[in-house]
């Protein structure tokens, strides 16, 4: 069981690295879909073992919600937004991709050293699943600030959310049901609003480069 969680947490980390080193919008969406599927698998395995041992089914329900929401609905929504806008490949970054990838690697090292100082979380040995999933949160942040276009930033937000969810799962063996549901509703509202925003920005400025928003200043 532990081995599977190790493996899955590493694969989630791996998928966020693949995301960071990509340029195409369709590749972003597809990688996000795969990452969400991995997270659904983690929730499924954890929920199954809790359902068998303690007769509680809330994590299994959350697993189903993740599949419906993050694997099917949100990618579909993003593809639709993607169809409405002009550009296909992200061309300009604040840094070039190899440097971004190396900085993300530094973030993994950083999260290792920060987690190793939290006594109550680690106990005897470092909980490396938490290290990996915390790195996913930081990489999501960095992804968000390294992309200039709005869709990349939406994906960055979703990756942060994925990372927070997995961190919570691994450190507490499942949060209360109502908290998870609240987070999901927040997230879906945010993504829908951002999708509408992207389309509006695109119509107004004929580009979704957020640099152009500075023209709004008086």
């Amino acid at each position: 069981m532990e081995f599977f969680f190790d493996l899955l947490s590493v694969l989630v980390l791996l998928s966020s690295f693949v995301l960071v080193s990509n340029k195409k919008i369709t590749a972003y969406i597809k990688t996000f879909q795969i990452q969400s599927a991995l997270i659904a698998l983690i929730a499924g395995i954890m929920g199954w073992s809790i359902a068998v041992n303690e007769d509680k089914y809330d994590i299994l329900i959350i697993c189903v919600i993740i599949i419906a929401l993050k694997v099917i609905f949100i990618p579909h929504l993003l593809y639709k937004t993607y169809g409405n806008i002009e550009y296909r490949v992200e061309k300009d970054f604040f840094m070039n991709i190899p440097i971004i990838v190396l900085i993300c690697c530094g973030l993994v090292v950083f999260s290792y050293f920060s987690v190793s100082n939290i006594g109550s979380l680690t106990g005897f040995h470092i909980n490396h699943q938490v290290v990996n999933s915390l790195s996913v949160v930081l990489i999501g942040f960095f992804f968000m600030i390294s992309r200039k276009k709005a869709i990349g930033q939406i994906i960055g937000y979703l990756v942060i959310e994925n990372g927070i969810f997995v961190t919570a799962m691994f450190s507490t063996n499942g949060m209360p049901f109502i908290v998870d549901i609240g987070i999901f509703i927040d997230m879906i509202t945010a993504v829908m609003i951002m999708g509408i925003m992207v389309t509006r920005i695109n119509k107004k400025f004929e580009s979704i480069n957020i640099d152009k928003l500075s023209k709004l200043k008086g």
Partner: protein, 315 residues
């Protein structure tokens, strides 16, 4: 001290099986595009024919042009001796390890680049400069990957690593080996001029890398170059197959029969990895030359995180 049986078995298996990998990859690609494709043994026929033909050498070339095919072929063959196809024969090969293998390939590649520049054709120069760029990008990833695996096994000799990996139960579900496996797969694709980095089926196009350096060669020299390249490809596939998917611990008999069974299973694994590479090749497009650093960075990071997972986090 070198075991003579080992040398004979190794050289025969490597030379006989190396062109097969190209055939399988080409056949898989053709089948995925609903074509019939060339026969699996096509490269054997090509090499056989090329060895019988005479060589045309340009007047303006120096001795490097004539010597390069022999150096490339010999370097590849000697490097492939460092990666045993079966661990059933004790290789007793203390003379070299995986680091020597990497730099023997680098030697062959260096002479290939010189030969590409030697004929002074524009394509050769372009191919050489691109090859220099790709090889310098991918070399740190190779060393970090092999060092990570070597550190877990506490040896850099490939025979010792394979012996150690026999004792590891289900290597591919452990984070460190899974990550280094993926990194080594990317490296294999980049080193053997496969599609995301270079397209092996193009001739006379502006994007070619490996083919551009061989453009001036003909006859026996071309055959040696091609065979050297396919031996290099087989060596990397052997690393992937024998380190990460060990099989010799399931053979309980000993003697010549065991070696035969072991080599048969090894060939099945080679076919499996070749199909994996062909699938990777079908499902991607060739990258722009300036996107290759991204791929190299990804391979480097994968092996580094594998290192972290094992040595820093303790799994």
């Amino acid at each position: 001290m070198v075991n003579v049986e080992y040398l004979i078995v190794q050289i025969i298996v490597v030379i006989m099986a190396a062109p097969l990998v190209n055939g399988i990859i080409k056949k898989t690609k053709a089948l995925s595009q609903k074509r019939k494709g060339a026969p699996v043994l096509q490269l054997y026929y090509d090499l056989f024919k090329l060895f019988k033909k005479s060589t045309v050498v340009s007047d303006t070339t120096s001795w490097i042009f004539k010597a390069a095919p022999y150096i490339v072929f010999t370097a590849s063959l000697v490097a492939s001796l460092l990666v045993p196809v079966t661990t059933m024969i004790d290789s007793v090969w203390y003379a070299g390890d995986l680091i020597l293998m990497v730099y023997l390939f680098a030697l062959g590649r260096f002479f290939m680049m010189l030969a590409g520049l030697d004929a002074a054709s524009t394509f050769g120069g372009m191919g050489s400069s691109r090859e220099a760029m790709i090889s310098s990008l991918i070399e740190p990833s190779i060393l970090v990957t092999l060092m990570t695996v070597g550190l877990t096994a506490k040896s850099t000799s490939s025979y010792q690593i394979m012996e150690f990996m026999k004792g590891v139960d289900a290597p591919l579900i452990r984070p460190v080996y899974l990550l280094t496996f993926i990194a080594l797969l990317i490296i294999t694709i980049a080193e053997t001029a496969r599609i995301p980095v270079d397209d092996p089926s193009t001739h006379l196009e502006l994007t070619m890398v490996h083919e551009a350096m061989l453009l001036e060669y003909s006859g026996r020299s071309l055959a040696l170059m091609e065979l050297g390249a396919s031996i290099k490809q087989l060596t990397f596939i052997t690393l992937l197959a024998n380190i990460f998917i060990p099989h010799d611990q399931f053979i309980f008999i000993s003697g010549a029969g065991a070696v035969l069974i072991s080599i048969l299973i090894y060939l099945i694994k080679v076919i499996f990895v070749s199909i994996l590479i062909a699938v990777a090749e079908v499902s991607t497009v060739k990258l722009r030359l300036f996107s290759i650093p991204n791929l190299a960075a990804l391979a480097f990071i994968l092996s580094f995180i594998g290192f972290m997972q094992h040595f820093v986090l303790g799994r």
